[in-house]
Amino acid sequence: MSKNLKIKVARAEKDWTQDDLAKAIGVTRQTIGLIEAGKYNPTIKLCLSIAKALGKTLDDLFWEVKDEN
């Protein structure tokens, strides 16, 4: 699983730390860190919570576009 930089960017847009996002959706900071690091595969329920909290869609945060080159 690759790193999820999209969540990191979306957080930065809102000027949120991992802890802020974690508190907003009721998980631990470590869980957010592991998702961003690509070391934890969240359920759709958690994905939706993250997307709602950051004001993004699932596609914005989790859709992976393969490099065609």
Partner: protein, 142 residues
Amino acid sequence: MRIEDERILTEKKAINSKILGYVYMALWLVVLHRQFILKQTLTDYLDLFLITLGVSMALVIGSVKKGLYLSYRSEKQQKINIMIGALVAAVMMFSINYCMNAEDLGDAILSTLVLVVCFLVAQFAMVHYSRKKSNEGFDEEE
């Protein structure tokens, strides 16, 4: 929307499940050790046997109630699994009664047959109930 930290819950469940697996195996090993190595009678280790039996039944009943008892396999595979289980149970029962306890051949065969019939009835009933449970809660495809 406030949610529980699913990662922590999942990891805790995985740890608990792993430990339960080890304890369960250990319980069976201790029971078999007492019966066949130490040659103790059932009354000598009845407490341990009842705990092991209780855990086994809880695992099976839990699985059946959730609709997971063999229901994910094809019907052919279910039958093969049940038949293999019945065969193993029959061989074990016959070996213990006839070879180890030196029971009369007729009695040993009879008790083995009774076991096999009970085993098959119980297994098919559990699979039937489990399959029914696994199809509950959603519309089946036409």
